[in-house]
């Protein structure tokens, strides 16, 4: 077997210098639930590994109109955070229900984004929340909104010399809520057959002032359903407008048949999840039935 280099930098500066030098041949190790699994199964043996568990990147900071989350924040930390439960509840639920407790004490939010699975739980929640990511290199920083982050399955805009260091979320405020739901083949330890996130802000008349709808496992990347969002702006959120938005989602997605689910089923169920997450985000009859709660 060939030699594999291992780096465990203890500061961000050191980590960025290493990426500047070795970037293209180094795989970044955060929680390991994807990378180490791929190494175990010999899907991927990197030339070098850089572990980012010693960079102080696990934190959730409340800055009033912005929540800053360190990229190495683990699922269990995010799921248990009262701040996220209150002001970014879609993310707290996605993180708190992902896989199993032993996986949640390893897997990180940054890892969930960088793996860029089209079915990612937290990726879907963060896309629906309208989150942005901070990409840092030795040369500087850039902020990329998540809807410009994914290029394809397992492909993102991150350059080899860059590290995803922070996730930025605008907290939900008055008249605003968010919701994440997932249909899997079982309740735990499962890849989403379809998942969906909605974030809704209503004005004083109950009309939609702002709305994001994101779905996963429905296209080559996680997907915002922008035509459904445009349709809802300025409208009251009721069963009629929600149904119209859900129908657009059914048509907008480009699902595939695979071992997890069929195109037919995914088109059926995406409308159901968009409906339920819109209702829950807007505080209408608790979002309806959801097997996951």
């Amino acid at each position: 077997m060939k030699d594999v280099k291992y780096f465990a930098p203890t500061s961000l500066t050191e980590a960025l210098e290493l990426l500047e030098t070795y970037g293209p041949e180094v795989s970044i190790l955060a929680g390991g639930t994807d990378l180490v699994r791929d190494m175990n199964l010999e899907f991927k043996i990197p030339k070098g590994i850089m572990w980012i568990g010693r960079l102080g990147l696990e934190y959730i900071r409340d800055e009033g109109n912005l929540i800053r989350i360190g990229a190495a924040t683990r699922m269990q930390t995010a799921g248990a955070s009262p701040l996220l439960q209150q002001k970014a509840s879609a993310l707290a639920r996605a993180a708190g229900k992902l896989a199993s407790p032993p996986v949640r004490s390893l897997a990180t939010l940054g890892g969930n984004l960088c793996t860029a699975s089209p079915a990612a739980d937290c990726g879907c929640a963060l896309l629906g929340l309208g989150a942005e990511v901070v990409l840092t290199s030795a040369k500087g920083q850039r902020i990329v909104p998540l809807d410009a982050f994914y290029l394809g399955p397992n492909k993102t805009v991150i350059r080899p010399d860059e590290l995803l260091t922070e996730i930025l979320i605008r907290p939900t405020g008055a008249g605003e809520g968010s919701s994440y739901m997932k249909i899997g083949r079982r309740q735990a330890m499962t890849l989403a057959v379809i998942n969906a996130t909605s974030r809704v802000r209503l004005d004083e008349q109950g009309k939609v002032e702002a709305v994001n709808i994101a779905v996963g496992a429905a296209a080559p990347t996680l997907l915002r359903i922008k035509p459904a969002e445009s349709l809802l702006i300025g409208q009251p959120l009721n069963e009629e407008t929600i149904r119209a938005a859900a129908e657009i989602a059914t048509k907008e997605i480009q699902p595939i048949n695979d071992v997890h689910g069929t195109i037919w089923y995914r088109r059926k169920v995406v409308g159901v999840l968009v409906t339920r997450t819109l209702r829950e985000a807007a505080g209408l009859n608790g979002g309806g039935n959801n097997h996951h709660d």
Partner: protein, 156 residues
């Protein structure tokens, strides 16, 4: 092949070992340190047979790169009790038939220990949620859940 030194606390004792960068904690424990309670199941984080406690939290040891445990604390089922003084979970799994073939048992016990350390008196539902990542192919889940609830009673 380049080997890197790893020093960590295993069941309360400091150990030092050298291993290549690609070795995971499961292989380190079984093949380098002869800790065979930790079972090799799926190597994907799906089965829970290799569950150990790392710095107080249950983790799938197959998903942990061995290098990253440098300076940290790992506990396996050998570290929580002795035949003379077993842990309440070890007593309860014996008395309530929580083990059938026994392959999942070390992982089940470590997952439930991490649960009870955080939540000493869980409801049945919380117990089920706590071991959701551990598969028992004998399907003896009811007895396992009963064992964990009985251990929690014993610890009152």
């Amino acid at each position: 092949m380049i080997k890197y030194p790893i020093t960590f606390t295993l069941n309360g004792r400091q150990v030092s070992v050298e291993a290549p960068a690609t070795v995971n904690l499961l292989t380190l424990l079984r093949d380098y340190l002869n800790v065979t309670s930790v079972k090799f199941g799926c190597e994907q984080g799906n089965c829970g047979a290799c569950t150990v406690i790392l710095d107080g939290e249950a983790v799938n040891s197959c998903l942990v790169l061995a290098q990253t445990v440098n300076g940290r604390e790992v506990t396996t089922v050998e570290g929580i009790g002795t035949p003379e003084h077993p842990h309440p979970l070890q007593i309860a799994f014996t008395e309530h038939y929580g083990a059938q073939c026994g392959f999942c048992t070390p992982g089940m016990i470590m997952a439930s220990k991490a649960l009870l350390d955080k939540n000493p008196h869980p409801t049945r539902e919380e117990v089920v949620e706590g071991i959701v990542g551990n598969i028992c192919r004998c399907t003896g889940y009811n007895k396992i859940v009963e064992s964990i609830l009985a251990a929690s009673e014993m610890m009152k």
